[in-house]
């Protein structure tokens, strides 16, 4: 099998914004960042404010020039016009000129992306349907809510059927329904074999849809890889499991003997939610057996993996403690 070149490939990427006579010393936004994004992946870029995420995207799109290292996009140097032709980009806090409506905006951005008028006319209705703007397509964007603008921004990014989507905070301003629609779109794109590069503050969002993530912190790349692997890297083992059970409190405590369970009384008498830290699945199975043996009813069992948020904060903590 022929190995496909990575969709995004950065090696030792550095960026320092120059200072000036009145601006004081320069600011380093990226320090020796290297990673790849493979074709077909949904990749999330995480980091606190000022981590260098937007700079990273701007370098990929050629809006900002790197001060060191290499960046390639779709097997072309970052910023190359032919590369950009195959990219759909949704910037953060997108503003669409006030004289546009959805139809004219799509026409404008579509033609800037190299589409013909006929192609735009053909694709526009379905796309507006997908992002849920079909019924307001002729309204001026002045009347649009932030969420509607975001949908329109997503539509323009998808219009020219790009191979790579770079989405900067795509669900910003969207209601839960909108978010779920965006998630569905992202999965659909993944199914089509498109690569999606996602930059989001909403960790749950990233956790739900991304195959892999990279975490930037003060210009340093702290992590690249799967979310599961992240917790391992942090040295955290075991499962947090919550049991909803019914029975005598003493019997329940006995069944979790030695595991220091945390008991919370439920709404009804003898109904408890028990949170316990168990080593692995075998320990979970054993706990269930003991509960059943003690004639305790098991209403629900919810295993809790370590969340991305936990991992993210843990990672940042690590580096704060050991800079």
């Amino acid at each position: 099998m022929i190995q496909q070149p990575p969709t995004i490939n950065v090696v030792d990427l550095c960026k320092t914004y120059r200072g000036g006579w009145f601006r004081g010393a320069g600011v380093t936004a990226l320090r020796n960042v290297s990673f790849d994004v493979q074709p077909g992946e949904i990749f999330g870029l995480l980091g606190p404010n000022g981590a260098g995420k937007t700079t990273f995207i701007k370098i990929l799109l050629g809006i900002v020039r790197p001060t060191g290292g290499k960046a390639r996009l779709l097997d072309r140097p970052a910023g190359d016009r032919r590369g950009r032709r195959r990219v759909g980009y949704l910037p953060e806090n997108l503003r669409i000129p006030r004289h546009q409506n959805a139809l004219t905006a799509l026409e404008f951005y579509g033609r800037l992306s190299g589409l013909s008028m006929a192609e735009i006319r053909r694709k526009r209705p379905a796309l507006l349907e997908t992002v849920g703007l079909a019924h307001r397509a002729k309204d001026s964007v002045r009347k649009y809510s932030k969420g509607m603008l975001q949908r329109l921004g997503l539509a323009q990014a998808l219009l020219h059927d790009p191979d790579l989507l770079i989405l900067d905070e795509p669900t910003d301003g969207l209601d839960p329904v909108g978010r779920s629609q965006v998630r569905a779109i992202l999965h659909e794109l993944k199914a089509q074999g498109k690569t999606v590069f996602l930059n989001s503050h909403l960790l749950l969002e990233v956790e739900t849809v991304c195959d892999r993530v990279a975490i930037l912190d003060h210009g340093h790349l702290r992590y690249v890889g799967g979310i599961d692997a992240l917790s391992k890297q942090l040295g955290q083992t075991g499962l947090d499991v919550a049991f909803d059970v019914g029975g005598e409190e003493t019997a329940i405590r006995a069944a979790f003997n030695g595991h220091h369970p945390e008991l919370v009384l439920g709404n009804e008498k003898n109904r408890f939610r028990v949170k316990a830290k168990l080593a692995d699945q075998a320990a979970v199975d054993a706990a269930i057996d003991r509960l059943r043996t003690a004639k305790i009813s098991i209403l629900a069992v919810e295993p809790h993996r370590m969340s991305l948020e936990d991992a993210f904060l843990g990672l940042l903590d690590q580096h704060t403690e050991k800079p």
Binding site: R65, V87, Y89, R95, S113, G114
Partner: protein, 779 residues
């Protein structure tokens, strides 16, 4: 490419979405609607307006004197006047020199009332009767009106003027009046134009033929466009479009644009062009509207008016290039507008400095006439101040001013314009110069002055000269011959006699014109204000050009001037011309650029050609001996006619394009005045410079020529694009500084393409700077 077209289309959308544009379009529509009901009607010229009479007091006097004679026009007019009008006429007197404001305003009231009486008389009464007008030489048009016959009754207008329509009768009255008092009443055009608004008459009828309407409306249209529509339109356009670039390069919308596969600098340039869309829409609307109104309502289909559309666009582009660059760098609409205003102020400052220096310190001092007085050289500048060259100090010394003028000259720090001069001519046998000049209060009240080298060119005399006098010559008998609008005159009095002694005689009828006596032109002259004359001194032949016709007058044995030939030239009859005569050749250089060569003895046309198309001729002279003739054009170029070779040549002298005056100082010696006040003398056969007269360069000259002029040259000149439009509309690169008829009055030469060139370079530099900035900048 289609991506960039999309940007332009988007800019159009943006413009169309702007409410300011719609307000502007509505305002333009309203302005056009206000002008739309204007129309005109061509009608016979009737009545008598203020300007139709050279000298009201003389007219009044003529009628007063003639009222008691029998069967004269004056008696007829008197008989038809009301008692009240008669009283006014009897009381009406010339305004004495030095009259106070109260006296002056009384005079004006009396004059206006007299004019109203005559106007009423000519409009309403029927002046013609069999006997009163017998001795009057009525113009052909008048004779034709009298010959009109009523088919039914068989009566002619001669026997019964009532068969004429009211308008025809009033026209006949006017013609009779002109013929009866040719010295004081101007010859009128057969028709004039009456403007209407919603079909109602407005203003006085304009003394112009309908087909010349365009010519008189042109300045008004140009004025509106250059001084109102242009600046206001551009300012509004800048206010509206100033936000386009800052908005486009706003970080929130810019990164999306920059992520698209388009080039940055082209994005900027395209946005810039798109910003011009706004101006384009407004300009197209306004100018197409004006063009349609002029065409549909006044019949003037001036397609060149539409050329203002690109000119407006260009004017806007100059300011917008600055506004856009500021908007790109600071991303602020306010800074963008402020930068345009600052830029305007700079352009205005540099332009004003240049223009003030040019118009106050240089143009007025430009020498237009050179007079060779034996071994001395005299000159007259554009504001009619005479100079004499002082070889010792190498300066032009002001001479020949009246006490009043000298006083005025001393008090004012800039050259004061004095009334136009007729002459000066040098009377070699008597070693004196003669010149006629109106008073500071107006072109009328002309007086004749003399001065001689022995007396340091001090002005003497001041006898009243005929107000219509427009040329002075000396004939073979060393007599001074004057040509006025009404007659050919001969100087018979002593012009050097003290005028103060004569002053009181002004009030005695008949004594006023004593200094000149009539040389009895036959037929009598009735020349327009733009007539010109040339004189063949050796053969005593006078040539006159007027309204497309040339006349030859020869002195007979009684020294009376009789017309011996006449010819019509194929030119617009309202075009002025200058002429000169050398030997057998009469040269007539017409306003439209055609140069006619006619046989001097019978006025047969020998040839016609065009030498300069971009400016009318100003002066034509002949060298003593007739070997050369010169034609100086208003654009500063001098052509020569080599009589021996029979051909024209561009004068082989330096400073072509900057020549303001010329004269012949010998059969083959040519003097040219150039670079304001320098004079160089050439030998035309040997092609050498004979002498130079150049005043020393002053500090002001240095500041002007080495500071202001270079700065002005490289600076963009948005304020001067009106010159380009003027050129495009008229095809002329000279513009008259006053509205004195004829060609001798100064016209300022301009280079129509210089503002376009310097401004284009400026716009390109601004776009280049912005492109470099945008390519290098990180957003």
């Amino acid at each position: 490419m289609s991506a960039y077209l999309a940007i332009i289309k988007d800019s159009f959308r943006e413009a169309m979405a702007s409410w300011v544009l719609w307000i502007l379009l509505v305002l333009i529509a309203l302005a056009l609607l206000v002008f739309a009901p204007i129309g005109y009607r061509e009608q016979l010229t009737t009545g008598l307006n203020q300007d139709d009479v050279y000298d009201w007091s003389e007219l009044a006097q003529t009628i007063r004197e003639g009222r008691r004679e029998e069967d004269t026009p004056a008696a007829r007019v008197w008989s038809l006047l009301s008692d009240e009008a008669r009283q006014k006429l009897l009381k009406f007197r010339r305004l004495p020199a030095g009259a106070g404001p109260e006296r002056r305003s009384k005079y004006v009231v009396a004059r206006d009332s007299l004019q109203a009486s005559f106007d009423n008389l000519l409009q309403e009464a029927s002046l013609y009767d069999d006997v009163s007008w017998q001795r009057v030489d009525l113009a052909n048009e008048g004779r034709r009106l009298l010959d009109v016959t009523d088919e039914e009754s068989g009566k002619s207008a001669k026997s019964d003027p009532s068969i004429l329509s009211d308008e025809q009768r009033a026209r006949l009255n006017r013609l009779l009046f002109e013929a009866a008092f040719p010295k004081t009443v101007k010859v009128s055009l057969a028709t004039s134009v009456q403007f209407t608004y919603f079909g109602l008459d407005i203003f006085w009828p304009a003394p112009v033929r309908a087909d010349r309407l365009e010519k008189i409306l042109q300045p008004a249209v140009t004025l509106v466009l250059d001084w109102f529509a242009g600046p206001v339109g551009v300012f509004v356009a800048i206010l509206v479009t100033a936000s386009i670039i800052p908005q486009t390069f706003d970080p929130h919308s810019l990164s999306l644009l920059l992520s698209k596969p388009i080039s940055r600098w082209l994005l900027y340039v395209t946005k810039f062009l798109g910003g011009c869309a706004f101006t384009l829409i407004s300009a197209v609307f306004l100018l197409t509207g004006m063009w349609l109104i002029l065409g549909l309502r006044l019949g003037i289909w001036n397609h060149q008016l539409l050329l203002y559309i690109p000119i407006f666009l260009f004017l806007f582009a100059i300011y917008y290039s600055v506004s856009a660059l500021a908007g790109l760098i600071w991303r602020s609409t306010i800074v963008s507008v402020a930068a345009s205003i600052l830029f305007w102020a700079m352009c205005f400052g540099v332009g004003t400095a240049q223009s003030v220096m040019e118009n106050i310190a240089y143009f007025p001092l430009r020498i237009k006439n050179l007079i060779v007085a034996d071994d001395q050289l005299l000159a007259v500048n554009e504001v009619n101040t005479p100079y004499a060259w002082d070889a010792e100090s190498k300066t032009w010394k002001i001479v020949f001013l009246s006490d009043g003028q000298a006083e005025l000259r001393r008090r004012m720090s800039f050259p004061v314009p004095f009334p136009p001069l007729t002459g000066p001519i040098y009377d070699a046998p008597k070693k004196r110069i003669l010149v006629a000049q109106g008073s500071l209060r107006g072109p009328n009240n002309k007086k004749l002055w003399v001065g001689s080298a022995d007396d340091q060119w001090r002005r003497k005399g001041g006898a009243k000269a005929n107000d219509g006098l427009f040329a002075l010559f000396q004939n073979s008998h060393d007599e001074i011959i004057g040509v006025s609008r009404q007659d050919i005159l001969r100087l018979t009095g002593d012009p050097a006699a003290d005028a103060k002694a004569l002053a009181w005689m002004e009030f005695i009828p008949g004594l006023q014109d004593d200094i000149f006596s009539s040389a009895d032109a036959e037929p009598p002259l009735r020349l327009s204000d733009s007539a010109a004359a040339a004189f063949d001194s050796q053969n005593d032949v006078l040539f006159i050009y007027d309204r497309g016709r040339v006349f030859r007058f020869t002195a007979d044995e009684n020294r009376q001037y009789r017309q011996t030939a006449a010819a019509r030239l194929d030119v617009d009859s309202e075009d002025a011309a200058v002429l000169s005569v050398a030997g057998k050749t009469l040269l007539v250089a017409c306003e439209d650029g055609q140069i006619f060569l006619l046989e001097a003895h019978d006025l047969r046309q020998r040839s016609v050609q065009v030498l300069e198309t971009r400016g009318p001729p100003r002066f034509a002279y002949a060298a003593p001996g007739g070997g050369w003739m010169s034609i100086l054009f208003h654009n500063g170029r001098l052509w020569l006619y080599d009589a021996a070779a029979g051909k024209f040549l561009l004068a082989p002298v330096g400073a072509q394009g900057d020549i303001s005056g010329t004269a012949f100082s010998g059969p083959n010696r040519l003097l040219i005045a150039h670079h304001t006040s320098r004079v160089t003398e050439y030998d035309l056969r040997k092609h050498t410079v004979v002498s130079r007269r150049a005043p020393a360069i002053t500090l002001t000259d240095r500041i002007y020529y080495y500071g202001i002029v270079p700065l002005y040259t490289v600076f963009p000149k948005p304020g001067e694009l009106d010159k380009t439009t003027q050129y495009l509309l008229t095809g002329k690169e000279t513009v008259a500084v006053d509205n004195i008829p004829g060609l001798a009055s100064a016209q300022i030469k301009f280079d129509p393409w210089q503002p376009v060139l310097s401004s284009s370079i400026f716009v390109l530099l601004m776009l280049l700077a912005a492109s470099v900035y945008i390519e290098r900048q990180e957003f």
